[in-house]
């Protein structure tokens, strides 16, 4: 049923509750292959939760979520759903890179070891090969000289760039960014955005939760404004940001722009 759709991510009526609190109240959206898809909205609007559903860090309660045509977290046989085993979930996550707001680098490993870890442990790449690749990736994010530093010896912006390199080391077909610059000092934001812009130009499919409206406008291909667990408005970034149709979008943008 999904053969006709070239969508990398497709959400159909996605619901998510934490106990009695309903965080996502039916999300429908489509991320095309190769596009940069930006999610904006006030905190608590459910944008981060939705992002975490895409690689099954959160379980969807209702609706369907597809990545590259495959159902996330479940297997469908007839009209019955079967939960995937941990190993199967892990296998699907290999193809989805994720970058966190708080970097979450492994503090007991150097930068290059952080980048090597998953290819060696998950894909069984030889250490020498992984180290060489990790060196190239660190060079790509402009940190070749920091390979032997521990995360605590790096600035926030440098840590986040290592985290991006770490995610890229698995050769993902989709990258998720969860407010990647929100925990950074203003002057360090630019370096991280440069790396992301570079990545977007290389054709990577990216879903970006962000408060960087400038980035969304320049680099984004589509933009969604979420509030209260629903998609309020979506369209081309320039259209939504400069000429919002919805009252809620207008008041949000007037505060952040």
């Amino acid at each position: 049923m999904n053969q006709s759709s070239p969508a990398m991510v497709k959400a159909e009526g996605v619901h998510k509750s934490f106990g009695p609190v309903e965080v996502l109240k039916g999300i429908d959206l489509e991320v095309k292959s190769g596009e940069v898809f930006c999610l904006i909205g006030p905190s608590g609007s459910g944008k981060s939760t939705f992002l975490r559903c895409i690689n099954h860090l959160e379980k969807v309660n209702a609706g369907r979520l597809y990545v590259d045509g495959e159902l996330v977290g479940y297997r469908q046989k007839g009209d019955k759903l079967y939960e995937l085993k941990d190993g199967e979930v892990a296998r699907k996550r290999r193809d989805i890179g994720m970058v966190f707001q708080r970097f979450n680098l492994f503090p007991h490993m150097t930068a290059v070891e952080n980048v090597m870890e998953a290819p060696v442990q998950v894909k069984g790449v030889s250490k020498a090969q992984a180290r060489e690749r990790a060196g190239q990736l660190l060079e790509r994010v402009g940190l070749a000289d920091k390979a032997k530093n521990y995360p605590s010896q790096l600035s926030g912006g440098q840590q986040q760039r290592v985290a991006i390199a770490r995610a890229l080391a698995m050769d993902p077909k989709l990258m998720l960014f969860d407010e990647p610059t929100s925990a950074l000092d203003p002057e360090l934001v630019g370096d991280v955005l440069d790396v992301m812009r570079d990545l977007a130009e290389s054709g990577m499919t990216m879903v970006v939760v962000t408060h960087e409206m400038g980035f969304a406008r320049e680099v984004g291909d589509s933009l969604v404004f979420m509030d209260g667990g629903v998609v309020v408005e979506s369209g081309l970034p320039r259209d939504v940001l400069t000429d919002p149709q919805h009252e809620r979008t207008k008041s949000f943008l007037s505060k952040v722009l």
Binding site: L57, D86, R93, F100, P107, Y150, Q153, A163
Partner: protein, 312 residues
Amino acid sequence: MTADVNKTAGPDATPPAGPEAIKAVPVRHPGRYVSAAVALFLLGSVIYAFAQGKINWGAIPEYFFDDRIIDGVLNTLLLTVLSMVIGIAGGVLLAVMRLSKNPVTSSIAWFYIWFFRGTPVLVQLFVWFNLGLVFEYINMGPFYKDYWSSFMTPLLAALLGLGLNEAAYMAEICRAGLLSVDEGQTEASHALGMSHTKTLRRIVIPQAMRVIVPPTGNEVINMLKTTSLVSAVQFYDLFKEAQDIGQNAGSPVEMYFLAAAWYLIMTSILSVGQYYVERHYARGSSRSLPPTPLQRLRAAVLPTRRPKGVAV
């Protein structure tokens, strides 16, 4: 009061060659001298009292390196190491079981910890030693078959008693360590496609070690001393050997002093080892590792050289 504060007060003031160092009269601490005098007096009286007592001090150096004592020391060390190995391995296993989502394994772990932490280790030692009353034989199919009494040697009873009891304590220490690791670490590892086991082994446990190691060092030192209980199951450790010599030579109290000296020597060595293990696991958690005592010494002697291996 002698420092000229006006020089650097105003924003326009231009200090010629850096601010002048303050030369002030330091605060006196007469309390320190008084307490030192009191402490010295008390120490002197205790030493005098012991020297006056009816203790045959000569017996201690005479037996200090006696073969039986050395045997006892080695047995104590062996028992400490093996019991701690059982304790740590069991503790990690129990902690992981306790934290697992599987309700059966977590209840089993809870029950184990409840039982072994709730009964005295001396009682456990006696129970292991006397289980022959319950099981006459031990039968492990084709591998091993024997009478319980010849299977349960003093060493085995001591190991089981100390090791399994220790596992219950280590389980709580390890659990605290595993819980101390930020959840974001597990998430990042899962997001990279790493399995639960790999995440635990490669990401969580190495970071938990920083929290686990210091109390574990305590446990090792505690274990070294607790091994003295195994004389109850006829195991010849340092304490048992010293006791036996004391009874034969008619100097029991002297031999207790001797044993105490040996225990003190061994625990001191362990404390040094603990320092280096803690330093190893501090890797990455702070910007630079604290210098080792050796490096500190070298830095003091050769002040210009930077200690090797210390990140800046």
